[in-house]
Amino acid sequence: MRIGTQRIRELISDLQDFYLLSLNGLLGMVRQPFYYRDTVEQMDYAGSGSLFIILLISLFIGMALSLQLSAELSRVGLKIYTGKVVGISIIREIGPVLTAVVFAGRVGSGMASELGSMVLGHQVDTLRVFGVDPMKKLVVPRILSAVVMLPVLTIIGDAVSLFGAYYIAVFVSHQSGAFYWSSIRDVLVYENVLAGSIKPFIFGYLIACISCYMGLSAKGGAIGLRRTTTKAVVVSFIAIIVSDFVLTRVLLYVLGFTV
């Protein structure tokens, strides 16, 4: 009973600290001082560092999706809709979620382990001794880099997925390339593009806040660092999936879709 109460207290305290970090991270983007160099470094790590893996995964996901849909739709004589279904799936759902999951696995884990090791090595304390706010120096550049780079990576990933799907539709499923691209053009309407564009900003913010929070609350040496990194990735995955559902529901409602 006592352990249960203690756990609940810790959970409430953790949530309160996470909320404060997220809020201060957001406010830090518009309050001085700004650490431009750190922000650019983080953007380079998060953006160009993740590009290759995003390209590779997006290409194969696009191809697999196109293959699956072509096979299923050809059984009911609707193979010509492959482009349309692939387009909607990638732009609105799979592209943002997949890129965010890869981003959380690569960049989020990196943020958590780097900050965790800085905490355990007293580097964060050293910053505070020198009068530097770790929130401004460490957290804000990471949030900013995730919020900027994840949408960019998502757009690139979506484009590559659509090319992968095109390759399968045309060269394996023997569909018309022109018709495929005209189907994609049809789905590139305001509602779909907006739905697919808002999500990466939210996902990026969540991943960076969760990873920074986990990293800064690291304790317990090498095992603690392992636990911190794992927790950051797992919680980020859950946050992506849950917020994706909530965002989808809200966006469908706002954009006037009926379910």
């Binding site: 090791s117 304390d125 050293t126 505070r128 001794v129 020198f130 009068g131």
Partner: protein, 246 residues
């Protein structure tokens, strides 16, 4: 300069310090000894306001710091120079950038002046040639020397705080660090050294405090400590006349 008045601190449910009280003058050379997890480093962090006590008061120059906000503590922190365990150099910055860090934060020096100052500081500890190296390329002793110079780069501290400055070092490197610590206190600047190495503590300090299970069980000079009958202190003192197990 430093006064602890019935200070208690705990990490979650685990109490670390239990109502400890002591005061340390500015020019004193104090060694805080004790086993791992007995709260030695916690005391240094409390002095700088990096941690807040659960209860009790901490006074620096008569000014209570326990309720101060982070930006108000800046003025308190610049009175001290702290060297954390293993140096705590920033991994992503070179030796030069590490030493220049407080200069950039606290001063408005030009780039050439910063470069000159960094070289001068590194020359004092024989590390000018390591200026371009990254922390991972330094030995443990070099790490500590760079960290000591970084801690005093921007201002003259009124007191040094050393957290296990010789732990994990070979005897030669440890001796170099001890000499440096003594050299820096020649002008009468006091220090608090937290260590579990009695040999080094005896070389450096004149007052010794021993922590056990969150309380100060001993506070006195070398002579008094050598005659202490506290079992833990006796175990620590065995380091001085080490005899191998058979």
């Amino acid at each position: 300069m430093i006064e602890f008045d019935r200070v208690s601190f705990s990490y979650g449910p685990r109490p670390v310090l239990k109502e400890i009280s002591f005061s340390i003058a500015e020019n004193e050379r104090v060694a805080i000894l004790g086993g791992s997890g007995d709260g030695k480093t916690t005391i240094l962090k409390l002095v700088l306001g990096l941690l807040r006590p659960d209860s009790g008061r901490i006074l620096i120059d008569g000014e209570e710091i326990t309720q101060k906000a982070e930006d108000e503590l800046r003025d308190i922190r610049i009175r001290f120079s702290i060297v954390f365990q293993e140096g705590a150099l920033f991994d992503s910055l070179s030796v030069k950038e590490n030493v220049a860090f407080p200069l950039r934060e606290y001063t408005r020096m030009k780039e050439e002046e910063i470069d000159q100052k960094v070289r001068e500081l590194l020359r004092r500890v024989g590390l000018e040639e390591a200026i371009a190296l990254m922390p991972e390329e330094l030995s443990g002793g070099m790490h500590r020397r760079v960290a000591i110079m970084r801690s005093m780069a921007a201002f003259e501290p009124r007191m040094f705080l050393y957290d296990e400055p010789t732990s994990g070092l070979d005897p030669v490197s440890a001796d170099v660090i001890c000499r440096l610590v003594l050299h820096l206190s020649q002008k009468g600047t006091g220090f608090i050294i937290v260590t579990h190495k009695v040999f080094d503590a005896f070389k450096l300090a004149e007052r010794f405090m021993f922590l056990k299970a969150g309380t100060i069980v001993f506070d006195g000079d070398k002579g008094k400590m050598l005659h202490s009958t506290i079992p833990e202190i006796e175990i620590f003192l065995r380091e001085l006349n080490f005899t191998p197990y058979h």
